[in-house]
Symmetry: C2
Subunit: 388 residues, 2 copies
């Protein structure tokens, strides 16, 4: 069967930008065009993700607007919004369209502005983020996302004895990796003590357990594996799993299992005909340190309950046996919501090409990305491999 | 090749509802399940459209929320937003997934709340709608959607001599049809004088040239044509075209041509291997009377410049030779943004089954739907046929 391949990858730095959504996205898209060696005339569809532009700056219907900015007005273009998994569902639909022969070469990507450059402060932005939690059952209680993941993590701690120190190791590791990533939001080193001594945001999370609000964009050029033969350094998308889980949180039978991630991972590994053991590293959705621990178990990198100890033992470090988030993850690289999912695939692409510089996972040939949305209601898991 | 078929269609009444988005959508979805004779266990994916829930009521990440409401938590679920074409892009992606064999049976639909039941008045809602126009080049000028379509229509009048009276005939005809549709927002008769004497909103549009803000939901069960053999009264989706056009308005070479509609129609007719002449009727995106005139030309029902005279001559009436909007269209049936595209397919399905009651287009065997988003930036055109 036809597979999809990534032949171009681009992104902005993640951080604070004065640019418009259009300027940010165009920077990433033109970077991806250049990387692939294509121009707008080579692109025949656009799968785009943005989560909150309507709420933050009254800007919707962005697919044709951004298509116009990057020279592809006319092609079928659609916007996806699935909370923090927004550009991963765009990627999944794009991969499926290429595999099905509906389109030859597509542009995929996402953009978001979440910092005070939008004119909105942290409080207002937190309220907007909370729109992804349940409108009737969660928002009225005052629950915002630090609380959502604190609840899940507290249950994980209860079940398995996961500790705040173990969680802190996730933040320390991701900051160490982020320091090696020139496009990361945060560049400073962090110690376990720094994390534990930072203010509590939502027990068990301290400020330094939480990812930042970032501005940024990411873009990919995806084509069929046959066409990819004529490009430099393609990487092949061998599996994409996508699942949802029941919401609100209170309806989930085993909340800390993050069942959608398990279902999505099973789907992706089955499509790719591999197991988690075959993965050389993972990019996972570490919006909070506890989320990385749960994700590392859900995608099969560690047994249930072993995610916390593994982080503390350095197993998920760049030089560990199961590296996780070499990019720095959401925690240090940053989290411009709609750009995050596609940016994970940018990282996989660069790593598998051996182009990741100081944060290179040595010899990486196969990797997995895990992108989660909302109160663990959506997860997309993708397997990408060096062309064999 | 495998085709997609609609085997279930459901919708709420369009109008003013006190229900939540979840309650509205569940009403439509359960109606579609019942119509198809399926249950949640038969559905393996969800393609969902909502345009403005984040802005109107801080409610996003609706795909898994609504999947949970209608018994399909777990399946891949994604939300689309493409302004007023929102559930048509969801429908397109669903149809493609079924044609490609990615999913067997999918739920497609959309929901929106636009009336003061949201707690927002007409002014605030107009500002939110305007988010679909260009953020940098159009919104700052004060342009809102009556103005967008007034500009396009004024150009059409300039080029072809289209008159306000001809536009008024579109409203009169759609209200006449809407009176025959028990789910329409507006049930009252209208005369040309009523339209021309109503207050001017944006020259050349009077209040009665404009569709209302409505609440409502629509849903479809779509499966492969092979599987559809075991259902009652399936209708086949033989072509779906989707195109964008450059934005802002000022960048369009021939604004009143609504080029995306022409490209989408050409794509849909080519896939279906038919011409416009073979269509027994059309549902088109008449957010304003002028929009119907332009759409009727773009989809090939009338020659360029003939859309206005044709409306005045009754050619697009229920008993005309080229019926348009037998449902009453957006103008009389109503326009709950995210529900509109899928609701057009509900109308096509009921008409092609001969189930449209007093508004039945006699002997209809093949029909086309035209759903437009934003400043004519997105259009999806779908051809649906009686199973031969």
């Amino acid at each position: 069967m036809t597979r999809a391949s990534v032949v171009g990858a681009g992104m902005t730095t993640f951080g604070v930008h004065e640019s418009t959504l259009a300027e940010l996205f165009a920077t990433a898209a033109l970077d991806a065009y250049d990387d692939a060696g294509v121009g707008p005339d080579d692109v025949d569809a656009f799968y785009f993700g943005n989560a909150m532009g309507g709420q933050t700056e009254n800007d919707t219907h962005l697919a044709p607007k951004l298509a116009s900015e990057v020279g592809i007005a006319g092609v079928p273009a659609q916007r996806f919004e699935d909370a923090c998994a927004t550009s991963a569902t765009a990627f999944k639909n794009a991969v499926q369209a290429v595999e099905a022969g509906i389109h030859d070469t597509v542009l995929v990507g996402g953009v978001e502005r979440c910092t005070p450059e939008t004119g909105l402060g942290t409080g207002e932005m937190t309220r907007i983020f909370a729109s992804a939690s349940h409108r009737q059952y969660e928002q009225p209680t005052g629950l915002t996302f630090p609380g959502v993941f604190a609840l899940l993590t507290k249950r994980h701690m209860h079940e398995y004895g996961t500790t705040e120190e173990q969680l802190a190791h996730v933040a320390v590791k991701n900051h160490a990796n982020g320091q090696r990533n020139p496009r990361a939001h945060f560049g400073r080193e962090l110690t376990v003590e720094d994390v534990l001594e930072s203010p509590v945001v939502a027990d068990p999370f301290h400020l330094m357990d939480c990812c930042p609000f970032s501005d940024g964009a990411s873009a990919l050029v995806v084509t069929s594996d046959e066409r990819a033969d004529s490009y430099d350094d393609p990487v092949d998308v061998t599996g994409v799993g996508h699942a949802t889980d029941i919401v609100p949180l209170s309806a989930k039978p085993v909340p800390h299992a993050t069942q959608a991630a398990r279902d999505a991972a099973a789907g992706a590994y089955e499509q790719a005909d591999v197991t988690a053991d075959a993965m050389d590293f993972a990019e996972v959705h570490d919006c909070f340190t506890g989320a990385e621990v749960m994700a590392s178990e859900a995608i099969g990198f560690f047994e249930d309950g072993e995610g916390g100890p593994a982080a503390a033992e350095g197993r998920s470090a760049l030089d560990g046996d199961r590296p996780i988030n070499p990019s720095g993850g959401l925690k240090a690289k940053g989290h411009p919501i709609g750009a995050t999912g596609a940016a994970q695939i940018v990282e996989l692409t660069e790593q598998l090409r051996g182009d990741a510089g100081d944060r290179q996972v040595e010899g990486a040939e196969r990797a997995v990305a895990h992108n989660l949305g909302g109160d663990a209601g959506t997860t997309v898991v993708s397997v990408v491999e060096v062309r064999s």
